[in-house]
């Protein structure tokens, strides 16, 4: 049995910030019903890379990786009859997840007060760029907005360079992790008190939290790759074109071991770089690790995909997807002794309509067929 077996999630979220959280829950055994619509496709379904035709909304590997282990139903949330079916999912669920703009859930008749009337102990988990309150509530942004508003971009890059944006939507990575923690904590609170609640997660605030140590230091300075609390803390070239290795020495013992391992008498950056240039980064990794010195080759995408440690640890699992075939899906970074994770393929759009609406909610199959045909469940 998985850790979250029995947990029921009605997931109205899309793209990255919500779906990555509900992936955490689904991969650990929660039943996650992803509410989608053909009329307003999850943009994740249109995000590269694709298995084939970019217009095939079931063929995005990006979407597949972000939505493992979930079930998909289609509900037209602009149709009152669709909303009535959505309310039945709310009545079934322990947790409702959404990442719409402020006011949208209220406008479609699924605001928190309505959800509470349907199910008094419901947990509503919301995630948005700037949160639901404050002067910036309603800010319309995208994945990297939080990097700008948190100070992350200002603090990134070379010390003498411009601000630097992360190479991915890092706010769409960190915020959903906070959302998962928030949901799990709210479930514990509900178990203790019987009370549900509305959780309001901003993307900006988690991005500030993960650099809290820099905010605890005044003035907060841009450091590049440096860390003055270390004797050695840098990235050094190795043999081969564009190959690098990160090396640190925090103690005098590590610094002495580094000198010995590299056969150098000084540990300034230039001397270390001269020594590391002579070797392959993986050979250097083995050499320094054996000498007790923290080191890490700078891996590219291919080297991550093929990394022996990640493969041995089961970091990627092969899920059999109807369109993508057997393809690599990331798994949780932890392994429980008693409860197993259960990573399965992402759903096709509306794949579970009948299973959810008829078998699970007990709705009349003819009525469901009518609602599908007339676009209410589409």
């Amino acid at each position: 049995m998985s850790a979250l077996a029995g947990l029921k999630i009605a997931d109205f979220s899309w793209v990255g910030a919500g779906p990555r959280s509900t992936k955490d829950l689904a991969d650990n055994g929660a039943t996650v019903i992803k509410i989608e619509s053909r009329r307003r496709l999850d943009l994740g379904r249109m995000s590269p890379p694709f298995a084939g035709d970019p217009k095939d909304f079931n063929g995005s590997a990006f979407f597949a990786q972000t939505n493992t282990s979930k079930k998909s139903v289609t509900i037209n949330l602009s149709d009152p009859r669709g909303i009535e079916v959505a309310k039945k999912l709310v009545a079934w669920a322990d947790v409702v997840v959404e990442n719409f703009g402020p006011g949208f859930m209220d406008r479609i008749g699924l605001g928190y007060s309505t959800l509470k009337e349907i199910k008094p102990d419901i947990i509503l988990a919301s995630v948005s760029v700037a949160g639901k309150t404050g002067p910036m509530a309603g800010f319309r942004g995208y994945g990297n907005s939080a990097a700008a508003h948190s100070g992350h971009a200002w603090l990134s890059g070379a010390t003498d360079g411009d601000p630097h944006m992360p190479p991915l939507a890092y706010g769409d990575v960190v915020a959903p992790m906070f959302l998962t923690v928030a949901i799990l904590a709210a479930l514990e609170h509900r178990a203790q008190t019987g009370e549900g609640q509305h959780l309001d997660v901003s993307q900006i605030e988690p991005m500030v939290h993960v650099i809290a140590d820099l905010y605890a230091s005044e003035p907060t300075e841009k450091m590049g790759n440096a860390d003055p609390s270390f004797i050695v803390h840098g990235v050094y070239p190795t043999s081969g074109d564009g190959q690098w290795i990160a090396i640190t020495a925090e103690t005098e013992a590590e610094a002495a071991a580094l000198k010995a391992a590299l056969n150098i008498t000084s540990i300034d950056d230039a001397t270390i770089a001269t020594a590391t240039r002579q070797h392959d980064k993986f050979v250097m990794f083995d050499l320094l690790s054996a000498a007790g010195i923290p080191a890490g080759p700078v891996l590219d995408g291919k080297e991550v995909a093929e990394n022996p440690e990640l493969l041995a640890a089961g970091h990627f699992t092969k899920a059999d997807h109807p369109v993508l075939g057997k393809s690599s899906m990331p798994t949780p970074p932890y392994r429980f002794s008693d409860t197993k994770n259960a990573v399965t393929a992402a759903p096709l759009l509306g794949q579970h309509n009948r299973e959810v609406f008829v078998d699970m909610l007990g709705l009349d199959p003819d009525h469901i067929d009518t609602l599908i045909a007339e676009g209410s469940l589409a």
């Binding site: 002067p135 907005s145 928030a182 997660v201 022996p308 932890y334 429980f336």
Partner: protein, 363 residues
């Protein structure tokens, strides 16, 4: 009451666990942390350990005794298995063993730091300027990401314990935690054969690349020409009002795929946007973005973040008192908004010897 009221946590601090323990403390758990052998930077202590009871590691026996009584043990193994807590915990304890790598994989036992884990994650390879070295994210992101996963695993096991009555052990890999954040590079290689590289502040999609950072009159903003017609229209509408749109006013953004537009054309259009942005200040551009839905964000310096009206209204920063010195420091507090949360203690406690500790981490 707090969300984790009554939950006791013992944390063995080594960098990997620190933010996980901090999250649980912020949520109301009673967290006791055993400090590392080597003292951390003061800023890191204040950021990661406020709200916890801090212990010096003078007695393995006392620490093992605390582990036996705790609901949750976040057991950092970056510096090895310091206290053999696996043999000390009770059947109802949730024991999260946090190590740099998997327990039995080819990298097991190798020494690590935040920087080396970040290098391995694949994120560093694509961060920085094309002609410069790989660059890390600010702070210690591999540690932070691992800490969040440690808190997540603990809370999942707590949910399972409510069902079964039993605790359990989890092995958590920091390398996997950091790599999980890198959602693009491995999958892009798998499906396209392309290996990502450093692009500086260019956002490259399809045939062309677009700028992400723009100087304005008094700083920088981030905004990109992306295939979002409503955002493009929203910016150009204001440029028309300000008589700065030029030929951009005549473009039907709904019929253009920016990602498929020639780089030369992109550069020309960007020169018009750039001339507009440099004429205006951050506050004005930020206000237009908020009101008109541009998707533009002001690049905020740390002091801007500290003094942000929005974050003040949200109550993000809290004052923490260092009990040893009486000094106060302004650091992030609440993890998110929840109406049911009481404020946790806002102090950095004075460390006491584990052998002399009474209370904490006990059910």
């Amino acid at each position: 009451m707090s969300m984790l009221a009554g939950v006791t946590v013992l944390e063995i601090s080594d960098g990997l666990t620190d933010f996980g323990g901090r999250m649980l403390a912020e949520l109301g758990a009673d967290v006791t942390v055993v400090l590392p052998e080597h003292a951390q930077e003061k800023s890191r202590e204040r950021a990661w350990h406020h709200g916890k009871t801090r212990l010096l590691p003078d007695s393995a026996e006392a620490i093992r005794s605390l582990a036996a009584k705790a609901d949750i043990v976040l057991d950092g193994h970056r510096n090895g298995d310091r206290f053999d807590l696996a043999s000390a915990v009770s059947p109802t304890t949730i024991h999260i063993k946090v190590a740099p790598f998997s327990a039995a994989g080819p990298y097991a036992g190798r020494p690590t730091s935040d920087l080396t884990l970040f290098a391995l994650s694949g994120l560093m390879h694509v961060t920085g300027e094309p002609d410069g070295p790989p660059t890390k994210f600010p702070g210690q992101q591999a540690y932070a990401l691992t800490g969040i996963q440690a808190a997540t695993a603990a809370l999942m096991a707590l949910y399972a314990r409510r069902r079964s009555g039993n605790g359990q052990t989890a092995d958590l890999s920091a390398f996997q935690s950091a790599t999980l954040a890198n959602y693009r590079e491995a999958v892009m290689y798998e499906w396209t054969g392309r290996i990502g590289r450093r692009q500086g502040n260019m956002l490259v999609r399809g045939k062309s690349g677009v700028r992400q950072i723009w100087p304005c009159r008094d700083g920088y903003v981030t905004w990109s020409m992306i295939d979002n017609p409503s955002m493009m229209h929203a910016v150009v509408e204001v440029m028309i009002e300000q008589d700065a749109a030029g030929e951009l006013a005549d473009i039907d953004w709904g019929s253009i795929l920016v990602a498929e537009t020639a780089q030369e054309t992109i550069e020309h259009w960007q020169s018009i946007f750039g001339a507009f942005f440099i004429q205006h200040g951050r506050d004005q551009l930020g206000q237009w973005s908020l009101e008109r839905g541009w998707g533009l964000s002001v690049i905020m310096a740390p002091d801007d973040v500290r003094s942000s009206d929005h974050l003040k209204a949200r109550g993000l920063f809290v004052m923490v008192t260092d009990e040893a010195t009486g000094e106060k420091v302004n650091v992030p507090g609440p993890l998110f908004h929840s109406a049911v949360m009481d404020a946790p203690r806002r102090t950095l406690s004075v460390p006491v010897a584990a052998s002399a500790h009474r209370g904490g981490a006990e059910r």
